[in-house]
Symmetry: C2
Subunit: 1006 residues, 2 copies
């Protein structure tokens, strides 16, 4: 916190500032304009704001009058429902209906484009250069930023890089005609006597389409390659390059890029980086950067901003179970900014400072700090966004002289995202500009020391009794296990370490686990690394019918006691298994990287999902374990309760070798059944891990039995066995139907009608609507189709693209695919690894050949030489619903592209296979999204996101039709399938006397 | 309400009364005694009271020290948990554990027996006569009542009758030695100069074991037969007979018995009847009785009581959905008593009055009323219960002289029920005696005019805002359709009337109903009355595969629109069908009486259950139709919702021809499926009624299709059809397993894995524990085993009786059976009618022969001559678990009796068949009931009640093992089986912007 004298001076300066701009308003808040009215309406009506900002987002895609009209209707209803300012044009014209639609189209188009122009300095180089000149005439310098769609491919990254190079060429030509802006520095050819006239900002992730902290080194190197080219050009024009900071995920990569580039040209001073005061890390990062600069004896430049991705960061963290990386108290960010500004200014000898804020308190503080610390003018400047806070920039210009405007340049399409962010931040309740200029706060409040305000807010929050959230029986409520967070260096380091540890113990012999004891059998089969089949991971004892019979007998013997164990105690076993898995999460991930070829994040997600199943089903069983009282008739007590069925056979697949095995097993066990578990022949070691987790959890002998072995030898035996009452299976359609059919035949001595819980295949489609956000759709389709080599039941194997957008989407998709590499899964540089085994490889290659005859090959990627079950990443276009690769499950990295004439046809095609597991739609049409909700009939439908990665509790998983029998793993009904309900009715009336909670009736009788 | 002068006089007299007995306490409230302590403890502790009164109830059955000790422990815990007064004996002796147990046994036995003796004038005739003499010495007359167990057989009724005759003999001998009690009447040989010295009270239902208002005339005649014999003997000894009033169910029968007996001996004055002031009917009944007496010119006598079955009446009414027949405001009963007393006293010329109350206000009011109305002494007297309210009786004796004590005589066993009732009424909060003598109310309150108090309470209740109970979407909450109430003459009359109406339209041709239209086919089959097979009820068009195919096509075509109809609208169709069924409830009952031979109440219950299914599933669907939001991660919306499966085949049985058909069909339809319904070949007309109900409900064409026909011809076709996605079946194990097996084979072109909802057979047992209440167990076993000829899935076909009680139970059971008659179901005099058809008759008879070889025939009833598919009611003893009739479902009136050595063996045997549907236990051992809850593993377990008659919502119905697949019709999970869950996940974040209910986050960004 500042000294009280300093704070007083800051407040005084702030007051003067306000006085100096009294009566002025930023154009955004000018209610005379359409934009101002829109802002005003948005601030008063959250629902309208959402619709309007979403509409602005989709607007550039609405390339026909029809599309535009439809979307206006869908977003805002008809004229009668719109706010007056919107409908005004149409109303005045007295033209409702289709004529009104035309008028509205024009009004909205004109106004939205005008809004965009407010924030974008130019759509073309020429326009940009011209407008920059105008700004300079008004006394403002600029930093130019090139707007870009998300960079999805190498071509796009290259184009983006080239745009900068071209821009620099144009600016170089232009700057010679620019006079330096007035200032106290020495060189009149420079702005303010010291600053380059050419100043650009670059977003590092735009330079590499696969930037990803999981592949930290690869990402840094690739970004640096292109950044270096830009920087060389910048130096050539004697300009300034600032590397922008984007989302938290890329922060460390960006810092690393900056440091390396800095060292490559230590003598050239004009290289800066942006830091975000709202990040909890920034104090530490700033210290480290300053220390590094001192150590390396280089000069650096820091643009300090508050940070522009607050919503995004909090949402992403919330969704992934990570700690929120940004400060959640607004005043804390403001205080951090002042604190960090002081730190930078104190180090002005080595660090140039760009103060990027519209906040008058912040600006006043920086001015006073600079004065207190005697910072020369050439060591700091002020930056604001082009098009915003006009009174503020005027005020600073008056006082400090050195104002640089952050000026985006580029097309309307990428500009809309930028516009939405600007609108959002200005409508936020805590926006300084809103509070200052939309008349909601007093100047004293606006100028208060943010450290004091933060203190107060922290105190208020800790005084507010947090809503105590408790789960069943006093447990904390269920929460998904966090995803691996590769922004943390220790998570990145943990994988190679765990892989090495696991590798050091390869080749061990793995016994069965029956009735609480390891059981070795004579027959051994190796399990291998599909990326390197010569690497034998272990020798697996094979269970034959004898061993399976023993396991069933053990399960049967254990059943009565386990059934009679209380739900809470059964649940506790699951919770202990979850704790054990959490403890070993990197090791378990490493094991499946090796045994089935998952990528790091995929493997970790599988273990996390296993933990989720354990934690979730434990709580579910406690909930369901409480007998429910039914009815309220007097004199009777009806209790509804659930009981397990007996011995459960769990037959698991290899593709989620821990998660699905754990889910089915945990459900069976926690409901009171005893399990004979047959893992897939491809992942017996992961199966063995499950046995170890349950052993660590202290499960009584016989409750869980592990019997790896050949389906051909003992599959039918297990299914047919009269003592098996329940079969939980996840796998192929063929095997699933075989199990269903066999289990339906009652065997001699069989006690129960067998229950089959069956999850089978999918033939999942993503529909790309003509207004889809391709920046989102492209990467999500790629990930859904080719993540883990497409070997997920949920994987996307068809993408149905509306004609109007087809070619553009496909071109981007193929370009993205081309950027990916295939190779051993354990190397995070590879997007794809080998498929499960040789049989899978042959099958998938066969389908690729089929696809080539049915459609047109759009992309077939390279595969590494040598051993490993690799198949190429394959995209085949021109596929129609009748084609085999549009109907049959391939279970590999083969994507069929289908061109649909309209959305109805797309839905029809999407629904056409016999499977109905997952599906997705990318659309920004509320009507189409609604139609998809109703008519795209799959078990898991995803709107505007990828279609894999269902999470326990949030996206209970499973399909219908030939994909399954309507069970939903990880959902609220799942455990019911493992139990039979019972009702116990007690007549509580004896001799006309019924105890009753409500009535102590008391009529005198005689 | 009385005049205020009269009320003031009443209060004055009451005050004097209280003053006259000041300082005295009834022995019940004397805290010096064990009983007083027990009463005191019970009044302060509801839980203890329940345990104690239940213990008193079971006490007579605890015939061994071991049983007694165990029950004491189970009811009261060990000595440390008992109230001090109970454990005192054992504690003082310092003897906990088994020694303490022995002491406790003695203490409790002694005290409970002493309590019983408090209220029972004698256990033997000799003792009774002696004690009556003592009472007379103290100035009290008596009315003697013979305690009896429930009369379950003709033998028991005869024994009971004979006991009265013997009692009268003994009293005749004795009365000659008794001096008349002093009084102002003329004849010194009579009590008080005018009253017979011998006075008895008789409970009419004790004279006929099958008394039942459904067979009103039969019940009246049978009771009258024995009552007449008693009355003749009473007249012979110049005594007084009062016919007691029991529960409401028998009120009209009792009044009718009284009237007829009165007219048979119009000249003999001493015949009375009891009326209950707490009944809402009594004002009207009293007026009618007085008018009748005037019209017939006979003298009558009325004993007015408040009424002793308040709990029972409210519970029974609550359970059956009937209006509560008793007043629910205590003061209203008191006010009614005074009002009715006045009416009787006003008519003292023709009506003698016995005022039976312990309430000093009531007594004072009667005294003042009599004085105001100048009623001569010989026209009224006061009655109190023997052993209660000693100060009150002394007070009356002092003032009025004429006090008669109601004095039960008989054994301890039946006496315990009487004791419990006395304890209950004295511990009730509103008990006048408790309020007067357990020190809780002031005299002013006790003497207040009850009419004023009632007025006040009514006002208070209507001021209290009733807890608004609403069901889903604004509907009233689900309530079971009331049972037929045969206490109402119009319900009794409705059946013969409806039967006649239905009969007038016999023989019609019944077409199929497909796609909203009637469809006639060439082939006709008759449906007949099983009680008279020559009576053809209708000619049924038979559906072959062609028609079934058409129906499936119609259902398929109707499906998309029906699926997309909102749950609420679908539910409304069910509610309309329920209203239509309610409208026609007697006609629908009559139809199934004729078509399948149900008794009146059974048929009505079936229709009521059908209505319940419609009402319940409608509400359930509204509940489940609301998409559920899952998870609370920001930036995503997950909705969990349910969708129908498609075409459902409903294959229904004949035994609940409307209810089960309606249940399965309504569930399928309301969830959005379309139905092809095949009724049983034995009840196609009832099936047709269902079609009519749905037509009246306005169901769109094709949603429900009715295709009666032969299983052999089209059953497999329906099950195998690839367009059928769901099969709901209720019927035999054999057919069920066949369906399960066939449905599991996927047919070419089949879209869905077929779901089979299957309810199959049962082999249900009732266990009779050694402490069971045989008064309850006997009739409940009889009803469960032989109701509707034992043709219910839930019927009792085995009764497992503990050795200790076996012979006594079996003797009573067989005696009960002997009392029943078999004949056409439409005549309510018959307990049983014909079975379903000739095939059933042959099968059941075959099993009877098997049973005779496996065990000992205990009872084989007669069957009527001539046509009709009758089989005898059959009870076979000596059956062991290995016998066929202990394992195979017979589905007819054949009951196997098994003798088990202990409760564990009984449970083991009960669980031994492959079925697990229903079961029951009669026991008063808390430990055994708890064990049964856990270990008697059937779908529906009933404790201390019959095992048939499961009600929708309260007892969701269905079993496991070979009885079914764990579905529970009428329960909260049932509809889930008819649907597949879907999850729709929307990513709501666009351009980093996610609308969020909780946070309008607002961090400033730059």
């Amino acid at each position: 916190m500042h000294s009280s004298e300093l704070n007083a001076r800051i407040i005084n300066r702030g007051r003067e500032f306000f006085a100096g701009i009294a009566g002025e308003k930023p154009s955004l808040f000018d209610k005379g304009s359409w934009m101002g009215k829109m802002m005003d309406w948005s601030m008063g009506n959250e629902q309208f704001k959402v619709q309007m900002f979403r509409f602005v987002d989709v607007f550039p895609s609405l390339t026909t009058g029809k599309l535009l009209t439809e979307h206006i209707r869908e977003y805002f209803g008809d004229e009668r429902e719109m706010p007056p300012f919107m409908a005004a044009g149409a109303r005045v014209a007295g033209m409702l209906g289709s004529f009104g639609g035309t008028v509205l189209n024009k009004v909205l188009t004109a106004n939205i484009e005008e809004m965009a122009r407010q924030f974008i300095v130019g759509e073309t180089t020429k326009e940009t250069v011209k407008n920059l000149g105008k700004l300079r005439k008004d006394g403002f310098a600029a930093v130019v930023d090139v707007l870009g769609e998300a960079t999805l491919s190498e071509e796009e990254a290259e184009n983006y890089t080239n745009t900068y190079l071209e821009l620099l060429d144009a600016l170089q030509a232009e700057q010679e005609q620019w006079q330096g802006l007035p200032g106290t520095g020495g060189d009149p050819a420079l702005d303010w006597g010291h600053a380059p006239k050419v100043n650009i900002a670059v977003k590092p992730t735009a330079l590499f389409c696969l930037a990803n902290p999981q592949d930290f080194e690869g990402s840094v190197a690739a970004i640096l390659n292109r950044m270096r080219r830009i920087f060389r050009r910048v130096m050539a024009v004697n300009g300034f390059l600032c590397i922008d900071m984007e989302s938290y995920r890329f922060k460390d990569i960006t810092l690393e890029v900056y440091r390396r580039l800095r060292l490559e040209h230590p003598g050239y001073p004009h290289l800066g980086i942006a830091l975000q005061a709202y990040l909890k890390d920034t104090d530490r990062d700033l210290d480290a950067l300053l220390a590094w600069a001192k150590e390396k004896d280089v000069r650096i430049s820091i643009r300090l901003v508050k940070g522009a991705y607050w919503d995004y960061e909090t949402v992403k963290a919330g969704q992934n179970g990570w700690e929120v990386p940004v400060r959640t108290i607004k005043a804390e960010s403001d205080a951090a900014f002042e604190r960090q500004a002081r730190k930078i200014l104190e180090n002005h000898g080595i660090c140039h400072f760009a103060c990027a804020s519209h906040n008058i308190r912040t600006i006043a503080a920086v001015m006073e700090l600079a004065r207190e610390l005697d910072v020369p003018d050439d060591r700091y400047e002020f930056q604001l966004l082009y098009g915003m806070a006009e009174p503020v920039r005027k005020g600073i210009l008056k006082v400090a002289g050195r104002v640089r405007l952050y000026a985006p340049y580029g097309h309307m399409v990428p500009g809309m995202g930028y516009l939405v962010r600007r609108l959002l931040e200005n409508t936020a309740n805590e926006s300084f500009l809103r509070r200052s200029f939309a008349g909601e706060a007093r100047i004293e409040q606006l100028l208060e020391d943010p450290a004091a305000a933060a203190e107060r807010e922290r105190a208020a929050r800790s005084a507010r009794p947090e809503k105590e959230q408790t789960g069943p029986d006093g447990l904390v409520p269920f929460k998904n296990e966090p995803m691996a967070d590769f922004t943390w260096a220790d998570h990145r380091a943990a994988f190679p370490e765990a892989l090495a540890r696991v590798r050091s113990r390869l080749g061990e012999t793995c016994p069965l686990f029956i009735n609480g004891r390891d059981v070795a059998t004579g027959e051994l089969l190796p399990t291998v690394n599909p990326n390197r089949p010569s690497e034998v991971l272990g020798q697996i004892c094979q269970a034959g019918t004898k061993a399976v019979g023993d396991a069933i007998a053990a399960a049967k013997a254990a059943f009565p006691a386990w059934r009679d164990t209380s739900p809470r105690v059964r649940a506790d076993h699951l919770l202990r298994a979850a704790a054990a898995a959490r403890e070993r999460i990197f090791e378990l991930s490493a094991r499946q990287i090796l045994e089935i070829g998952k990528q790091w994040d995929q493997a970790y997600a599988d273990v996390a999902e296993a933990i989720d199943f354990l934690e979730y089903y434990a709580r579910e069983m406690i909930r369901l374990g409480e007998p429910r009282r039914l009815g309220h008739a007097p004199g009777e007590l009806n209790h509804y309760l659930y009981e397990p069925k007996g011995v459960a056979a769990v037959i698991a697949p290899w593709n989620f070798p821990l998660a699905i095995s754990t889910g089915m097993t945990a459900a069976a066990i926690v409901t009171g059944n005893c399990v004979v578990y047959k893992p897939s022949g491809l992942t017996p070691l992961m199966g063995r891990c499950l046995a170890e987790l349950f052993r660590e959890a202290g499960l009584p002998p016989g409750v869980f039995n592990y019997t790896p072995g050949s389906s051909a030898i003992m599959g039918d035996y297990l299914v047919d066995h009269p003592e098996v009452s329940l079969i939980a299976f996840t796998g192929s359609l063929e095997t699933g139907l075989r199990i269903i059919e066999r289990a339906a035949r009652v065997q001699p001595g069989q006690a129960n009608v067998k229950k089959v819980i069956c999850e089978m295949g999918g033939k999942n489609a993503i529909i790309i609507d003509d207004d889809a956000d391709l920046d989102e759709a492209g990467p999500q389709v790629l990930a859904s189709a080719f993540g883990f080599q497409g070997q997920k039941c949920s994987a996307c194997s068809r993408v149905i693209v509306l004609d109007a957008i087809h070619d553009r989407f496909v071109a981007r998709l193929v370009a993205m695919a081309r950027a990916t590499t295939v190779g051993p899964s354990e190397d995070p540089a590879h997007f794809m690894g080998a498929v499960a085994d040789g049989k899978a490889m042959e099958r998938i290659r066969g389908y690729i050949e089929v696809g080539k005859t049915e459609g047109q090959l759009l992309y077939e990627g390279p595969v590494p030489e040598g051993e490993g079950y690799y198949v190429p990443m394959t995209i085949i276009g021109g596929i129609r619903p009748g084609h085999r690769i549009a109907q049959e499950e391939i279970f590999g990295p083969v994507l069929a592209v289908m061109r649909a004439t309209d959305f109805d046809e797309a839905i029809r095609w999407a629904n056409s296979p016999r499977f109905a597991l997952t599906g997705g739609v990318f659309s920004r049409s509320p009507a189409h999204l609604e139609k998809a909700r109703r008519e795209f009939r799959v078990g898991n439908l995803y709107l505007n996101r990828g279609i894999t990665g269902a999470l326990v509790e949030r996206q209970p998983f499973g399909g219908s039709r030939m994909s399954g029998a309507g069970t939903k793993a990880g959902g609220p009904d799942y455990l019911l399938h493992f139990m039979d309900p019972r009702v116990v009715t007690e007549n509580t009336m004896r001799r006309g006397f019924a105890p009753n909670e409500e009535m102590d009736t008391g009529q005198e009788r005689v």
